[in-house]
Symmetry: D2
Subunit: 288 residues, 4 copies
């Protein structure tokens, strides 16, 4: 459940080696500064000495003015506790670039959720290797960029895309039917989310609904994950399934799958922009 | 997910008026005593000044020996912060008394989960107004008490039951087909759990599956709740539903319902014995 | 799963008192005409003498030309077997009128599904007592009619609406925040669908999310039903729920609820236009 | 939903090449014999000429006496229509042999469901390569056979098992931790069901929960399937999943998985004994 956004609400995400006292130190700092912790979730990968992860939501009057002080204090703690941290103003709206090809269901869902206020972000641009969805983007008042991709122009196309993306906060592959290069991935570490139209790791690759149909599965799924150079193997953020039966053709599975895909990707993006997802090696921690 | 039970694992549940600094004070105390907080969940009913609730799991070497000190320190804090608290040794196995009538599915599930180690409790006795389930209890090595109930003997029957129950930790009404008196309820505040065979507040009362069938619902449900004097109105702990269709007769709904009921009640009892459920007025907080 | 639409695909829905031989008579007729039954579902409310209901999908070359003959034969059978029947050309796209107030999530979903080809119907008009959603309708190329409603003008408003509706196939109340009159209901018997934002029969009435929050439920639901003069008591077509926890505010429940509502209503409308819903007294048979 | 079992209820399952008129012929035969079809489901793999599959439930007074006549008539039709068929008396209780190793959750569930009358079958024997579950079987009054298996005695062990099994109707591998030989499989075509503790085809093989944990999946699943010589590749009957999060250890996943496994296998076995599952190449048709 998301908190009300106001300029006094902040979020702090912290990671460090697990040692007794870390919660006391951080909450002590918040108390000293006069912040009220309104929500906190923590995870210890191994209670006898692994990685400690914490997400705090807090109310602090005059957060914007007091932010430098808070950052200074966190930096000092960071050195002592080998701690990495991220501090966010909940009122900040991250920017998204959405990559699509020809199908619009996931894009439509992201547009709807941004408009409805359920996804607190701004879709800064839609990028596509096809022209089909230009009207959808334009109709929503979102800049659309057509970057065709062929095997021989792929590197150039990615370079053009990188140029356009600039310092966008998150890149979303919303049924973008191109494999992005390892180099492209490396530009957006933990900031590049894909929706795969199966329950990974089942049905990796190009035509999962056909594969699911051939295998006669009774549930079809979708998986949202961070993209890493290894195809379909990045850390999973969210998964869901829907029931099908023997009457479902491949086309029926695609139809059912569209509703699972849009739900799963929109949920993953929402969690990401609310600083709820922390990558830990090949897995994610989701403070939902 | 439950933590491994060992004599060094403790749980602390705390409630107090929400004020900045409470987390720092509590985590400071834990750090000072050398405890490592391995899991924490908190809830603020209203971030600008409501009730603060916290559940901690922690590792503390020599917990049994250090418990008096911890209790003394918590008692001191309790006075300052108007705080109520409960401290539990995770290795402690609470005792349950299970009330049944003629159907065994919920009792069987509780027995199975205790044996499998998924429900860390001890079923101290089975109490019934009928003899049908005596073999089930005896077969599992659980004392069985037959206390018949008629309108004229109800008060006596409850008195006998209270005698038997002694200081049992939790009373579970596992499809016990008698309404317990307000007086009986008051003896087990927040320690008396019932399974109602519908999605409350729909179908309050005696024959919910018939009512659900008559109304033509497409989902049937079950609700586990703490019992309060007002029938079927106590704080809800857990609910679940299952899909039915037009082919389901009332008997089919009962059959499907049994599997929902056993799952819902077993889950609620498990959360309760793991100190995950906190009652707040007419509602519960469940740190699942 | 819906079949491919082609001009040779027909659907037949039949109801009559249950007597041995009815399936043989109907399938014999289809065989005699050269139709191939590709899908069939039947339901007997009571195998020893209740109501028999059957839905057939069939392939018949030249269906349009052969339809009069088929109708003549069915009419003859209808007399013999006290049978009511409905014959539909699967290629026919029924017209919908969608009534809304200020929230657009259900309307957007219907528009999306029609465009995606998942809901084979045509939204002929959007009617609203407010102007807020005019841009949504116009943006989708759908005529929008503003009919303000006040207590004193309600009868006039409904008269205007009836005028506009003409012979529309189905009226959908997509979060239309007005109670329609018994007279209005009677104009659209089994052709008027509403989405109620709770798991009926829990939380009948005006503010179900507030009521659900006050009661502390762990699941919130939505119910699509045919509208009858008795408020929120018409035959239920579809229901679904979503999980919430103690952190959910009333506003959070509304947000979660929107996604359940749009799914449930869209599903109910889809089944209706595919002739999959048969009303039987206070209940529905859904040949999904 | 299962029908009431009585000696007058029969079930007919039919398969043949799809040709117009097959439904008419079969329902005509039933009508001629005076049977009332109370439930029917059919599937056409390809409406323009694939395989036609039909399952009928019918009421026929004096079924036992009239069965020879019915079989004679079906045999005649079978020749004309290249039809295979299976006729079952719903009152017949098939016999099951359940193979287990050390974990009892699936066996317990099967025992419970047989006793509750939800699974209309008889567990004729429990076979195990370990002695751990002998008390569970004996406690339920079921013969228990201990057949140890080592790599060198595997062939002998299977020979002993085959001897014991005799003409049992269905063999159920209820977390039996041995791979059965191709020869053993071939003795029970479409009569040998296994529960695999993952969402197949993800995590084929020996330690799926560890694999699921390593991969960081958000849902864990179970799959019941007919066993064929190719490991974990037989036709899937039923699948289900449960949600886990980052806090779940491998052991937690196993615990959650047990409840999914017992549900999925019990459902698959129930559908099988009610003649609801038809194998079609690598897939199943389930008339649930």
């Amino acid at each position: 459940m998301s908190a009300p956004a106001s300029s006094d609400i902040g979020r702090l995400v912290v990671r460090c080696p697990d040692r007794p006292g870390i919660v006391a130190v951080l909450s002590g700092l918040m108390a000293e500064l006069g912040a009220n912790i309104t929500d906190s979730q923590q995870h210890s990968s191994d209670p006898t000495g692994g990685t400690f992860t914490l997400r705090l939501e807090f109310l602090l009057a005059g957060l914007a003015q007091r932010r430098p002080e808070l950052e200074r204090r966190l930096a000092a703690l960071g050195a002592d506790w080998q701690m990495t941290w991220r501090l966010t103003d909940a009122a900040h709206r991250p920017t998204l670039a959405v990559f699509v090809s020809k199908t619009d269901h996931v894009l439509q869902e992201l547009i709807y959720r941004v408009r409805a206020g359920d996804l607190r972000a701004e879709i800064a641009m839609v990028v596509s290797n096809h022209l089909d969805l230009e009207p959808v983007a334009r109709g929503a008042g979102i800049p659309f960029h057509h970057i065709p991709v062929t095997p021989s122009t792929k590197a150039d196309a990615e370079a053009r895309a990188l140029d356009l993306l600039g310092d966008v906060d998150l890149v979303v592959l919303a049924r973008y039917m191109q494999i992005v290069s390892a180099d492209f991935c490396s530009r957006f570490p933990e900031r590049l989310i894909n929706i795969h139209h199966s329950f990974l790791p089942a049905f990796v690759g190009a035509n999962p609904y056909q594969a699911a149909h051939d295998r006669g599965v009774k549930l079809i799924g979708a998986t949202a994950h961070y993209v890493t150079p290894e195809l379909d193997a990045g850390p999973i953020i969210e998964q869901e399934v829907a029931r099908v039966d023997h009457r479902a053709t491949v086309e029926d599975m695609r139809r059912v799958g569209r509703y699972v895909e849009r739900q799963v990707l929109a949920q993953a993006v929402t969690w990401h922009v609310e600083d709820r997802v922390i990558v830990e090696g090949p897995r994610t921690i989701v403070f939902a």
